[in-house]
């Protein structure tokens, strides 16, 4: 999807299909969401197969749906790709579990991922980022979106405890999960593609944990931590370890690359913003927040209404699926004035919902923020300017807003610090 929308247009919302993959692969959903926020903040849609869902697009409604588990439960699934099929991992997989069990499991895991805890990784991540950018320094065409797909693996691999040789396959499998109908990945049917990639990822983590346990290994890795925590006094089962490990892999792999490439695209379109950040590196943390708001890589999450509920001027029936469009909420003018202006000095950029809200707020956010900050510090220090070197291409997914190709050339600074 285009992150810088085309001209505002008057859209007739009748018959609009928010699950139309072309809208995200080659289209421009922002003007559509603009109209929805203004005129249909609760938008009901019935798919051709009869499944139905309600969309909220305003910032406050997105926040409410994602935060309040009493009104909107996660226990029937949270990814709209699975709309209408109850999540078989409910109550086991952390993202599909409501408090209080959720809190019990999340707390010990989160302790390894606080801003303070991840700080020890900063210099290692910096060295990784420097190596990552090296091939672009000789002025050859560098496809940032393609390369960035490997970045989370390079950064989080050692932290998770996953050997380098396995990463390429794991990155491919997580990409399959996010775009199962993409011709690059499709095996038989979309359902089969999803099941194959889920199966491989789950058994990878489960076997990692079993081998690790059998060998009596102890280390500082996050996966080891998963095998040793005792939420509520009991260790996690193999199934819980597999599911939460899978969830962490997915969270790291499928979002960060798109925030990197989407933010770089925005900076290439606005060389004055690039120059401003390069001249004053203290602006980088806010540049990162604006980039997170702008790209909103996790475009939405889903919840189910527990009881009949009034929201956004309408009513969702008990059991109704509600999709909270984070990408739209992050462009809500009542919270972000001139929302379609990319401004690295924006006040309050950090209020964005790119990491979600409430109990399921992204557990990896401190690590993602640090990685993005280091990435842009090093990028700005090394390149005087960046130029597009071909048409960007977008991911055909209504769940993950992302780029698949972003060819560019960089002009190296004469003096690197």
């Amino acid at each position: 999807m285009r992150l810088t929308p085309g001209p505002a247009r008057d859209v007739d919302l009748t018959g609009v299909d928010l699950f139309d993959l072309d809208l995200y692969g080659s289209g421009d959903p922002h003007p559509l969401w603009d109209v929805m926020r203004a005129r249909a903040p609760l938008f009901h849609q019935v798919l051709p197969d009869g499944r139905e869902f309600w969309s909220v697009t305003r910032y406050e409604d997105v926040r409410r749906v994602l935060s309040d588990h009493r009104e909107f439960t996660s226990e029937r699934g949270t990814v709209p790709t699975h709309l209408g099929t109850d999540d078989p991992a409910a109550g086991v997989l952390m993202t599909s579990t409501d408090p209080p069990r959720h809190t019990e499991v999340r707390r010990p895991l989160g302790s390894k991922l606080t801003a303070r805890a991840v700080r020890v990784w900063e210099e290692r991540i910096r060295a990784t980022v420097v190596r990552f950018l090296e091939p672009a320094l000789d002025g050859a065409v560098f496809d940032l979106a393609e390369q960035a797909l490997l970045l989370p693996a390079l950064v989080t691999g050692p932290l998770l405890g996953i050997p380098e040789k396995d990463w390429e396959e794991l990155v491919r499998l997580t990409a399959m999960v996010t775009a199962p109908s993409d011709p690059h990945f499709l095996l038989g049917s979309e359902a089969a593609t999803l099941a194959i990639s889920h199966h491989e990822l789950l058994t990878y983590v489960r076997d990692w944990a079993r081998t690790h346990r059998a060998a009596g290994q102890e280390d500082e890795s996050l996966l080891h931590h998963l095998t040793s925590v005792r939420p509520g006094g009991e260790p996690l089962s193999d199934e819980e370890i597999a599911l939460d490990g899978y969830s962490i892999l997915l969270g790291a792999n499928v979002t960060t690359p798109h925030t990197v490439s989407g933010t770089v695209e925005a900076l290439m379109e606005r060389p004055e913003q690039y120059a401003k950040a390069a001249a004053d590196p203290t602006l980088v943390p806010n540049l990162v927040e604006e980039g997170l708001r702008w790209t909103s890589a996790a475009c939405n999450f889903m919840r189910y209404a527990v009881d009949e509920v009034e929201i956004a001027g309408g009513t969702v029936p008990a059991g109704g699926a509600v999709v909270a469009w984070i990408g739209s909420g992050n462009r809500d003018a009542s919270v972000f004035p001139d929302p379609h202006t990319f401004d690295i000095t924006r006040d309050g950029a950090k209020r964005h919902g790119a990491f979600g809200f409430g109990p399921h707020f992204c557990i990896g956010a401190p690590l993602a923020r640090m990685t993005l900050r280091v990435f842009f510090e090093e990028l700005l220090a090394r390149f005087e300017s960046l130029e597009p070197a071909g048409e960007p291409q977008h991911l055909r997914s209504y769940f993950i807003a992302g780029l698949t190709h972003l060819p560019l050339t960089g002009k190296k600074r004469r003096t690197t610090p």
Partner: protein, 76 residues
């Protein structure tokens, strides 16, 4: 062969908590990766054949999974 298909259908039935026919489609009757992991493990235990993950999900019916097991047994 027919009876092996029937056995596989029963095995699926235990994991999916419903009656399964030999030509039923795995995904239509509520199969997913969590039940798939358990079913493939049990096939290995009971029949001594390790099914490829990909082949299993693409086979999609008990009858065709039975064929995979036959092939695995004859080493084809």
């Amino acid at each position: 062969m027919g009876s092996l298909g029937q056995e596989i259908a029963e095995l699926w039935g235990e994991h999916l908590g419903r009656e399964v026919g030999v030509e039923d489609d795995f995904f239509t009757i509520g199969g997913n990766s969590l039940s798939g992991i358990k079913i493939i493990e049990q096939v290995t235990e009971q029949y001594g054949v390790t099914l490829s993950v990909r082949d299993f999900y693409l086979a999609q019916t008990p009858a065709r999974v039975a064929e995979l097991i036959e092939q695995g047994r004859t080493g084809a």
